[in-house]
């Protein structure tokens, strides 16, 4: 161990003065008893100017009440106290220690307050050790800033990903619908031809049969008693074939077949109407026709669940993509049929409004809880069990209606039912075409 006496008081003092951090000693009244070079260099005041004055005279930036309480707590508790650059960046108002490269204007500091005892162990005052943390602070602030940027970017990306997902889902869905539409149209077309000739054949058959029976009647009337007795096999044949019944039945069979053919023809027509293969473009379309064909297509799915009441208003054809609008009707009707219970009722309203037309699908089903009403249009949002719902119906419908410059809104009272309302303008604005040509013109 070094002999303490070998190190003089002067040596210790000059060491304290030279040390590369701020050192202050103050008494209980905050009067400065000692101050080192660091403090002089950074405050621009010589030690002589500092010593003997209170902290607040020489460092007016120090909040007096707080500082006094701090000093007081160190004296009373005989314990350390601290300040950190994070909460109190510039305890002393010193200039930045990175004058050239740093972007910060002031020195960041950590400060420790510690009790100082005199030779007899009594309380002499409080020491302050001030360290320069500008470099660390600058670095950390930069990192924090970078972190914020990253976070921003991250959330922007998350948004993009969500949009991409949505777009992909829509693409998938519309591709699927297009494929189904094409398939339906193809099948419809294939069936259309044979049905056509079967129809005309059945009609011909019907006419031929009328003629045939007329002929038979004529023969019967022409043959007399004698002739009948001469040919008893004729009566036997007639009995065996149950001729009277056959005549009656043939009529019914023909009528039934014609009815059946009518139905097939209608279904084929609906399929074509619904799929609109020929109309993936803007066309004037009659929404009531679209609603009817859509209803026909899904009739089997809803007929046992709900009574459908049509309250069609007087509307004119609008410019739209028929197949896509039918897709919206289909989604709304299926959702409504899923929502209703016993005594289910689905009302379809339509009418004119605001220079456009509206179609409402109203059901008396379970309704939509308030807290999810703004989520149902999100892609993949579904409350239905796996396999029942994809959660895509409404999001797709929404984007279709928006693409048509219309609005799709919902009103629902949980427990009482829901009303989905699509409003569509009569004509599509020509903006897009104009806009591009205008840009090109410049």
């Amino acid at each position: 161990m070094t002999d303490n006496k070998a190190i003089s008081r002067e040596t210790l003092e000059s060491m304290l003065k030279a040390i590369n951090m701020g050192v202050l000693l103050v008494d209980h009244d905050c009067k400065v008893l000692f101050s080192n070079h660091f403090m002089s260099i950074n405050s621009g005041r010589s030690a002589e100017e500092l010593v003997g004055r209170t902290l607040f005279e020489v460092f007016p930036e120090l909040p007096e009440v707080w500082t006094r309480q701090k000093i007081n707590s160190v004296v009373t508790l005989q314990n350390f106290a601290f300040t950190s650059w994070q909460q109190r960046p510039h305890l002393f108002n010193f200039e930045s220690t990175r004058p050239i490269s740093g972007l910060v204007g002031h020195m960041y500091q950590n400060c420790t307050f510690f009790p100082v005892q005199d030779a007899d162990g009594g309380s002499l005052g409080v020491g302050l050790a001030i360290s320069d943390t500008t470099d660390t602070a600058a670095r950390q602030l930069e990192l924090t800033h970078l972190n914020e940027l990253l976070e921003e970017e991250k959330s922007a990306q998350a948004l993009l990903i969500a949009r991409l997902e949505e777009a992909q889902a829509q693409l998938l869905q519309s591709e699927k619908m297009a494929a189904i539409g094409q398939l339906a149209a193809g099948v419809a077309h294939e069936i259309n031809n044979p049905i056509g000739f079967v129809c005309s054949n059945v009609n011909s058959l019907r006419r031929y049969l009328v003629d045939l029976f007329a002929l038979l009647d004529a023969y019967e009337q022409a043959s007399d008693e004698k002739h009948a007795q001469a040919h008893p096999e004729l009566a036997a044949m007639r009995d065996k074939a149950d001729y009277d019944f056959m005549r009656q039945d043939i009529d019914e069979l023909i009528v039934e077949s014609v009815e059946g053919l009518d139905r097939v023809t209608r279904i084929v027509k609906d399929l074509r109407e619904f799929s609109h293969v020929d109309s993936y473009e803007w066309q004037l379309a009659d929404l009531h026709k679209g609603l009817d064909s859509t209803l026909n297509v899904i009739w089997n799915e809803i007929k046992f669940k709900a009574q459908v009441i049509k309250r069609y208003g007087d509307i004119e054809p609008i410019e739209c993509m028929g197949s896509q609008i039918n897709q919206v009707f289909l989604n709304l009707l299926i959702n409504a049929s899923h929502a209703v219970g016993v005594d289910g009722e689905i009302i379809i309203n339509s009418g004119r409004e605001d220079g456009g037309v509206f179609v409402e699908v109203v059901d008396n089903g379970h309704g939509i809880p308030l807290d999810i009403q703004n989520r149902i249009f999100e892609p993949f949002f579904t409350t239905k069990p796996v396999g029942m719902g994809s959660g895509l119906g409404l999001s797709l419908s929404y984007s279709i209606i928006v693409k048509h410059h219309g609005r799709l809104t919902v009103e629902s009272e949980p427990g009482r039912g829901s009303c989905f309302r699509a409003w569509l303008p009569l004509r599509q604005p020509q903006v897009q075409a104009h806009a591009t040509s205008a840009v090109e013109g410049c």
């Binding site: 909040p63 009440v65 707080w66 500082t67 006094r68 309480q69 701090k70 007081n72 707590s73 009373t76 508790l77 005989q78 314990n79 350390f80 106290a81 601290f82 300040t83 950190s84 994070q86 909460q87 109190r88 950590n110 420790t112």
Partner: protein, 203 residues
């Protein structure tokens, strides 16, 4: 190795006594500093509550803590003090400690001050009882949760800890309370055990 895990009933009582004395001194100094009534609950001592690397924090703290601060004590007795602040933080003490406005940085600083004062009072009290020197590092914010109640789940403990003391502070006139966890490392717990034994011997 001496740990506090295997304390006898007597030793446990002695430790309790040791802490009671330390707490009493801490309360008295705090009261002197702030000119108010300071109540300290009787410390609740869990010797060696540890499961793998997780501190089993009592459920009520786990639920209610919003902000947790920490401060190390170093020397012959080593460890860390954690202070768990509830939703109202230390706002009620602002004036007592000379704070004027209530900005977020100042609220944090206030909590760090409270942490420093409380841990200093407790640890210095204990250190004095066992006649050793301790030093402290600057306190810092460990977890800051806006709303989550599980701030304490994030504590990752790496050194073996031998003892957890749970202390509840209340400054009655100011409706302030917070909870302190004092964790002492296993390697230095022997200091406390020896002090306990001496206390028992002197009795």
């Amino acid at each position: 190795m001496e740990t506090l895990a295997a304390l006898t009933e007597d030793q446990r009582d002695a430790l309790q006594e040791l802490m009671n004395i330390a707490m009493g001194q801490a309360a008295e100094r705090l009261a002197r500093l702030t000119n108010t009534m300071v109540t300290l609950s009787v410390p609740f001592i869990h010797p060696l509550i540890r499961e793998q690397d997780n501190l089993l924090i009592p459920d009520h703290l786990r639920r209610s803590s919003m902000i947790v601060t920490r401060q190390s004590f170093l020397g012959e007795l080593r460890g860390e003090v954690f202070v768990c602040f509830g939703s109202m933080g230390a706002d009620k003490l602002a004036e007592l400690l000379g704070y004027s406005d209530g900005g977020p940085a100042q609220q944090e600083e206030l909590m760090l001050d409270v942490t420093n004062i409380l841990s200093g009072a407790c640890i210095s009290g204990l250190a004095k009882q066992v006649a050793i020197q301790v030093s402290y590092d600057a306190p810092s914010i460990l977890v800051h949760r806006e709303e989550s109640a599980n701030a304490l789940n994030e504590l990752n403990l790496n050194e073996h800890l031998a003892m957890v003391l749970e202390i509840r502070f209340e400054v009655q006139a100011h409706q302030f309370s917070c909870d302190l966890l004092i964790c002492i490392t296993e390697r230095t717990a022997g200091v406390v055990v020896r002090a306990i034994d001496r206390l028992l011997y002197e009795l």
